[in-house]
């Protein structure tokens, strides 16, 4: 798979930085033109010339620096505020109150846009408020033009900030998913390689070994163990990680597969809240231990996961020695209920139920049923169970 480049900075932020570099000189040219048209009304044209000289120098420096960082934004904002105050020096009072444009005019927006791009909507809004306050203080008597400008500033500061933040976040998600996908592809590739070569050979050694008599049987057993553990290694966790709070019960149950345990499940993942998954897995694990410990050394266990829509059902069956009737009652009178009680308790906490079926010599079947999501309604015990005696094993 081709490696997708990991982009260090969101594309949108880069584009806005370049846009701002173009906006600064254009806005300055516009401001100078506006001031030139109003030159007859000026009280102190030297103040305007000085302001534009400072703005011009900074605009030049900023275009050469080509980066948008915190000092640049602070300088933008400071110069804009200074320019707005200088308006009161350049023009007589009545002209300012009459609604003449401030000296920096639309150049004031550079700091607001920069703050939004750098720090998101909060900084954008804060910068817009700063310029607005300077405007209000400068003109003393607020007129319609001032309000209009303030609304536009706050809108642009907020919206540009918001879009920059969203762009950053989606960039983060994108990078994470690219990384996960690469890890996944690599794992797939390794699995295939292991699968096609090593596993097939181990399976072959296992099969042939068993046909070669006692010496071969030992070899076969070794090959089989290696094959199983290698297989569980390459098949585990091949699903892409989804949301942290939900987990795939099927994938987690699959990891219980071993020499003596066979796990069956639907092809689709079974998504459940993580903590409910943990509880169910603990219950299944307890039933499994019970079956492997008490079923006898030759006992094998089958685990079946069924997705019933709102509920899931896990059935654990072993072909072990089973247990005689009355065993549960006996255990209860002894005051020890052990595994069955802990399993039942967990399932009841999940709003589900647990059932036992066993017969001497015929193994034991444990049925666990629980709703996928947390609900207040308890699920009735599994129907259709055979009428053989229902017993718990301790």
């Amino acid at each position: 798979m081709a490696t997708a480049p990991i982009i260090a900075r969101p594309v949108v932020v880069g584009a806005m930085t370049r846009g701002l570099a173009i906006f600064r000189p254009l806005a300055l040219a516009y401001a100078v033109l506006m001031a030139w048209l109003e030159r007859d009304q000026m009280r102190a044209p030297s103040a305007a010339v000085a302001t534009y000289a400072v703005l011009g120098v900074w605009t030049l420096i900023a275009s050469l620096r080509r980066t948008l960082d915190r000092p640049a934004v602070l300088i933008d904002l400071a110069l804009a505020v200074g320019g707005i105050i200088a308006t009161n020096v350049a023009f007589p009072r009545d002209v300012v109150v009459g609604g003449v444009m401030t000296l920096p005019s639309i150049w004031s927006a550079t700091g607001v846009i920069g703050a939004g791009v750098l720090g998101g909507e909060r900084w954008g809004l804060a910068a817009a408020s700063l310029i607005s306050v300077a405007d209000i203080v400068g003109v003393v008597e607020v007129n319609q033009g001032t309000i209009h400008n303030i609304v536009l500033l706050i809108l642009s500061g907020g919206l540009i900030g918001l879009s920059a933040r969203l762009a950053r976040e989606s960039q983060g998600f994108f990078e994470a998913s690219v990384r996960a996908e690469e890890a996944y592809a690599e794992r797939e590739r390794l699995s295939r390689a292991v699968h096609d070569g090593v596993l097939q050979t181990l399976t072959y050694i296992n099969r042939r070994g068993r046909e070669l008599g006692p010496g071969g049987a030992e070899l076969a057993e070794l090959a089989r163990e290696q094959e199983r553990s290698l297989r569980s290694l390459v098949t585990r966790g091949t699903a892409l990680p989804s949301a942290r709070t939900r987990e795939d019960l099927a994938a987690r149950l699959r990891s219980l597969q071993s020499d003596r345990v066979e796990v069956s499940m639907p092809a689709e993942s079974v998504s459940m809240p993580g903590e409910r998954c943990d509880e169910l897995l603990a219950a299944v694990g307890a039933a499994l231990d019970n079956a492997l410990t008490h079923g006898g050394p030759q006992a094998r266990v089958w685990v079946l996961l069924e997705d019933l829509g709102d509920d899931i059902e896990v059935t654990i069956r072993d072909n072990g020695v089973g247990m005689p009737p009355g065993r549960l009652a006996e255990a209860r009178s002894d005051g020890r209920l052990g595994a069955s009680q802990s399993i039942r308790g967990r399932l009841e906490d999940l709003g589900g139920s647990a059932t036992w079926r066993s017969q001497p010599g015929k193994g034991c079947t444990v049925g666990l049923r629980a709703p996928k999501e947390r609900t207040a309604v308890a699920v009735p015990a599994k129907s259709g169970a055979s009428t053989r005696h229902t017993e718990g094993r301790t």
Binding site: E262, V263, P266
Partner: protein, 231 residues
Amino acid sequence: MTADDRTTGEKGLPAEHDARPVRVLVADDHPLWREALAQDLTEAGMEVVGTAADGAAAVRRTRATTPDVLLLDLNLPELDGAQVCAEVAGLPTRVLILSASGEERDVLAAMKAGASGYLVKSATSADIRDAVRATARGEATFTPGLAGLVLGEYRKLASQPATDERPIPELTDREVEVLRMVAMGLSSREIAEQLVISHRTVQNHVQNTLGKLQLHNRVELTRFALERGLN
């Protein structure tokens, strides 16, 4: 037409009572495996009519020899198991998938495309021989894992909205019961004993669950092809 119309009879009745040896084609890309399997089956009195190392050759040779059973590895170069099954679906040959465990999802696709059975490669030689014979007789060979997937597939189909135009195959209560027992590791014999029915009836139930799924798959594929063609 209902899905139930399709039963075991569709592919004829070859090689009953060993009147003639079961004819088998072995398709596996591992030379070691391929030769070992062919030798095993020959020693067991079956006739290996040929071998194939890739999917395309498997299809070609199956068409040329129409064996009773195509013993098919799932991951062949050129055509995968499901594609090979689809290609030979019209022939009387039955397909037995032989594959590593843990590949059941791919096996499900092959089964839907027309295979009649699935066995893991770690099965003993005797198991494989028995499964080939059973497949030739028209019986379905299932692992518990595959039964769990087939059950899940029906449950998934049932959760989709049904329309008159798109009937969705359903399992009878008895079929669900049998499939669950297979998924829980019970053999056909044990299932027959527990449900007090004959071994043959158990086989029919398993076969039906598969047949309905395959029919549904074919109908959906045809519909898809028609829609693509008409648009």
